[in-house]
Amino acid sequence: MTIDVTNASDPGASAPGSEAFVVKRRNFRNVLRALEPTFVVTPFVIYSFLGLGVPALAVFYLAFHGETGGWTFENMRLISHGIFLIGFENSIKLGLLTSLIPGVIGVFVAYAIQTSKSNVLKRLTSTGSGVLANFGGINLTFMFIATLGSAGILTAWLHALGISLTSIGFNLYTFSGVVVVYMYFQLPLMVLVITPALAGLRQNWREAAENLGASSWRYWIHVGIPVLMPSILGGMLLLFGSAFAAYATAESLTLGLVALAPIQIGNFLNGNVIAGETHVGYAIAVGMLVILAFVMLLYSLVRKRASKWLQ
């Protein structure tokens, strides 16, 4: 999640030059060097502004406008109660469940792989995670319907054994189903993002801790987890964002039976039913942006706290 841009503009300023010309030239070069990061970053800034900033501003503008122009809070009022509030609640619940559970399990899985002696396993899992983390949408839905749907293979096998999935409270086409399906790509995603951080844990830290008489437990409490915490939180934030905003998988699976904020936006923008209320959809989008901004803020606060342990 976080990119540490190291300042590349160290000018090596103490170079003594006897001739004024050389000094001048060197100064010019130093200025250029100092500006280098700006030049490199500028296209990215423009790109993000056009691709992210402008649409976000447009969404804000439209959310506070009625269908016939003029500033209004009506859209915001509408989405703050009833089915739209339930949509936000479900989306947040879904985001939390499928970021916390795979977030924690993912760390253990990644650690197990990282400490394994088999190089083949490491390479297989990193490639596999890369593929599975990007597997979503309608294909994934069909895969799960064929496996766990009402006429799915696994459902039929379990049925033959006398186990009914619905009687234990699982139904693929409901909220519980969406959670299970999201785990399928969330867990590999966590493994993928946390592995580099685990690789950064140096063996000699552990040895040093053990030399000072620390148990494995104490090592993790005082060294391992504090060092990893920013990465773990960053990973979970990524998972939250991906589950909170995912559309195609949930839409094709539940077809409107589970109220989720992104699907409700889709109903307004693509539907055949609700004419002339797209601004309510924009208002939901603003609601989602605000929630994500809040989560990001929370993350940066916790991260600041967590990085203090490192000092």
Partner: protein, 386 residues
Amino acid sequence: MAPKRIRTVLLAGATLASVAAIGITAGTGAASASSSVNWAKVTHLTKTGPTSMKSLVAAAKKEGTLNVVALPDNWANYGNIIKDFTKKYGIKINSENPEGSSAEEITAIQQDKGRSSDPDVIDVGTSYAVTAKTEGLLAPYKVQTWSEIPAGLKNSGGYWFDDYGGYVAIGCNTTTVTNCPTSFKQMSTETGAEGYKIGLNNSPLTSNSALAAVEAAAVASGGSLNNVAPGVTFFANLNKNGAFVNTIADSATAESGTTNVIIWWDYLMANGGIDVPGWKIVIPSDVLLGEYYTQGINSSAPDPAAARLWEEFLYSPQGQNLWLAGGARPAELAAMTANKTVNTALEAKLPALPSGQTAQYPTTAQITAAAATVNSTWATQVGASS
């Protein structure tokens, strides 16, 4: 109008084709008497002169192309309608985003404005046409057979006019279901024993046809077009009984047996819409709910003459009978039956109407209110009962 699907690359192809076609016609276009007519402003044809049918055909041929949007081939026979129009007038049709929805059609004419690929005509749910008219997106035009369209099915100013419609029907696979339902009541009471797996064509939150099924269920279960809550309860009960299958029901789900009963417009299941042997369509005995789709001409159509010729074609006996061949009931059906221009063989193939039921047509206001009710209760009631 069709279930929304992923926008295909056809759009790019259609744009290229239209650019090429325009290049060709521009090279061959010769000055004619009708070239001074601004067809975008023509609101009706005259018997003779520069705005006669003959001049319209000439001007449309000169334009050479027509852009249509969201017309699936197997929807109300549009595949053949497009083919026959091109055959008759030699005008090429660019079909953009054939699986698109009404909302996407409106978005297309808003966003493609000024481009040669901008859709010339739209075919949308009536509420979308009403909104489009208030936003100034439609041009008024009255076809020659205007008087044959019933008054309730058109805007008096000519901004929009209904084209074809049908009734909410129950389709059923007679080869696997022994006792096919003929009413909504039967679906709700005999579900367990008969093994009904009932599907809708889409979610009623996004699909107008699925919403109509909920409205029909409401009317059949003690509600009305103004009170669709009983329809939501009806589906919540079906779901509780395990008889409702929440999927996009189509030929594939009917064939695999995932859904053996589908509630949908009669004409969309007819003529291979649900392509399964033994598929039988009945109009339910406890409700007769009909709805029409609506035509409109884009006020900034890049091919204004071709757009008007397309409407003249659709509202000629040939066009109306083509819709009829697709199992849809064209807007001028009653007038055509009276003046004997209807294809009686095709008319006889329509599913029989139940006796003792008068047809009900929800108004735009009723549909909007129904959509709001279903939108706020569907997930909590039907979703909670699974």
